[in-house]
């Protein structure tokens, strides 16, 4: 399982502050941060500790098993951020 960041994300990065394994990206000093439209959780590194969900001020984070149906696509969207461009796009096209 993993945790997943969804539509309400405003990139407040309280989640980054509390994440024990630094699996949320972009971090504020990463080059992509200023243009980011949301933050993403690396599903490979996430340890399911729940800290980000609790810290999120806008309730944007869910355990994958509690994800509202309308945001199921954010599983792929979070994962894609950590994949190569080719792989991410291939999976996107396959899904759609």
């Amino acid at each position: 399982m993993s945790y997943v960041i969804t539509a309400p994300c405003v990139a407040d990065y309280s989640c980054v502050e509390v994440c024990p394994v630094d699996c949320i990206s972009p971090m504020p000093d990463d080059s992509g941060f200023d243009a980011a439209t949301q933050l993403y959780i690396n599903p490979v590194l996430c340890v399911d500790c729940d800290a980000c969900r609790e810290a999120c001020p806008v309730n944007a984070i869910f355990a994958e098993d509690q994800l509202p149906e309308k945001w199921l696509d954010y599983i792929g969207i979070n994962a894609a951020h950590f994949q190569s461009h080719t792989q991410a796009v291939a999976e996107l096209r396959h899904d759609k």
Partner: protein, 451 residues
């Protein structure tokens, strides 16, 4: 030599950039996330005054975020918690540049952070822009959100078509609000008069114009997907072939275009319609006193078409507004700065800082301002540690309030805002709504000064 007294910093503006600045200045015990980890950036006591031109705080959280985005509005709770920290003071209903000058502030405080946001908009620059029925999306958003400066506007929605120029998230918000069921909006804090006007809406079609192709569309994925949730609303695309989006376009673009294509397929029927029109530039707005048509040119073949419309809203970007007494970059619409320090002809002004949209221009989302504010605060603290702040003659908290009250007949503190907040919530409860916003400064100040 480090002075024993607390550093006294003014923050101008209580929107996200201003409140995040206050949060960083009044740093929590966990420290600040910087350079990949948590570090203390404030190592001395600080007092913060947040000066706000309205009686109400939180900037665009209150007047910009769409009323049907309650999750995002929850950011107010974070700022509220910051406002309760030791050393924080809110002074509402004070406009810097009118009631007090930047020169006053730099005299009264050790440092000043300008976080005034973008109080203006970019204009279309075409004829007919000033006709009745043509306005900026910023004005429309501020209107439905009950901003006192916009609450006396009138938007007549008894027409069949509205045209939104620009396809960013503001256009998405406006389109969604225009087509949301009144029963849904009733459960939000949208201004009552806007609810009434929307109740009388006869709009059947919203056309969203984008100058370039879908690969340059400015909206984000979540905001697009929300249009797909509107009942009985068809979504279509004109002026492009979505299947031609380049393979090498970035993931987010491909995600958005694929989603738009899917929406068009799945939402082909409906008594109302949202049309994304790409490669389309407005050339003129036509009408006799009131908008009747908008002329649009197809930028692929330069063909022109006139669309009948009763409402045209320009959603092509916010823009910063100059403050009397501070330098201003008129091209970019920002206060010029270097590493958050305000510069005048390339020379830093001691103790003057800038953050948020008035520093970076109107880009980024709410949290982008957290990092921006962090950097401004880091600059303030670095200058304080290097004795670069003009600390001579700084006034005490009480003296500042006295000086301000000598110039403004009514100011309010945080408890004044809380009074407004409580009133709005209890008025809302009475109508089964989360909040009934007060929409005039007079009413707010009346409540605060009464008893």
């Amino acid at each position: 030599m480090i002075s024993e007294r607390p550093l006294r910093i003014a923050i101008v503006g209580s929107g996200p950039a201003g409140m995040y600045s206050a949060g960083h200045l009044l740093e929590g015990p966990g420290g600040t996330f910087i350079n990949g980890g948590l570090n203390q950036i404030v190592r001395r006591p600080v007092e913060v005054d947040v000066l706000e031109r309205l009686p109400t705080p939180w900037g665009l959280i209150r007047s910009g975020v769409a009323p049907d985005h309650p999750d995002k509005k929850r950011m107010a709770a974070i700022y509220d918690s910051i406002a309760r920290r030791q050393g924080f003071r809110f002074i509402g209903n004070v406009q810097v540049g009118r009631d007090v000058s930047p020169a006053d502030l730099s005299q009264w405080y050790d440092g000043v952070i300008y976080a005034v946001g973008a109080d203006d908009e970019r204009r279309l620059g075409i004829t007919g822009e000033d006709l009745r029925g043509s306005d900026s999306a910023r004005a429309f958003v501020s209107w439905y959100n009950g901003h006192p400066d916009f609450s006396d506007l009138q938007f007549d929605l008894r027409c069949e078509r509205a045209v939104l120029v620009g396809n960013g998230n503001v256009a998405m918000d406006v389109a969604r609000i225009l087509f949301s069921p009144i029963s849904t909006l009733h459960n939000t804090d949208i201004a009552s008069y806007a609810l009434d006007a929307l109740g009388k809406s006869q709009l059947k079609e919203i056309v969203i114009l984008g100058r370039r192709g879908p690969e340059h569309a400015a909206f984000n994925y979540p905001e697009l997907m929300e249009l797909g949730e509107l009942a009985d609303t068809a979504i279509s695309v004109e002026g492009t072939d979505l299947s031609l989006t380049p393979e090498n376009a970035d993931y987010e673009t491909q995600l958005k275009v694929a989603a738009l294509a899917k929406l068009c397929k799945e939402k082909s029927q409906g008594s109302r319609r949202i049309v994304f029109r790409f490669n389309a530039a407005p050339t003129a707005i036509v009408g006799e006193g009131q908008v009747a048509q908008i002329k649009v040119v197809d930028r692929r073949d330069q063909s022109e078409q006139a669309l009948n419309a009763g409402l045209v809203l320009a959603a092509i970007g916010y823009r910063g507004l100059a403050i009397d007494g501070l330098p201003f970059d008129d091209v970019r619409g920002v206060i010029p700065s270097r590493d958050s320090r305000i510069v005048d002809n390339g020379i830093a002004i001691a103790g003057a800082y800038v953050t948020g949209w008035i520093k970076r221009g109107p880009k980024g989302i709410i949290g982008s301002n957290k990092k921006c504010a962090r950097d401004a605060v880091a600059a303030v603290m670095a200058d304080a540690d290097s004795n670069l702040l003009p600390m001579e003659g700084t006034l005490s908290a009480a003296q500042v309030l006295e000086a301000i009250n000598a110039r403004v007949s009514v100011t309010l503190g945080f408890s004044g805002w809380q009074k407004i907040d409580r009133q709005e919530q209890s008025d809302g409860r009475a109508q089964g709504r989360p909040r009934l916003k007060m929409t005039t400064t007079g009413a707010m100040l009346g409540l605060v000064t009464a008893g």
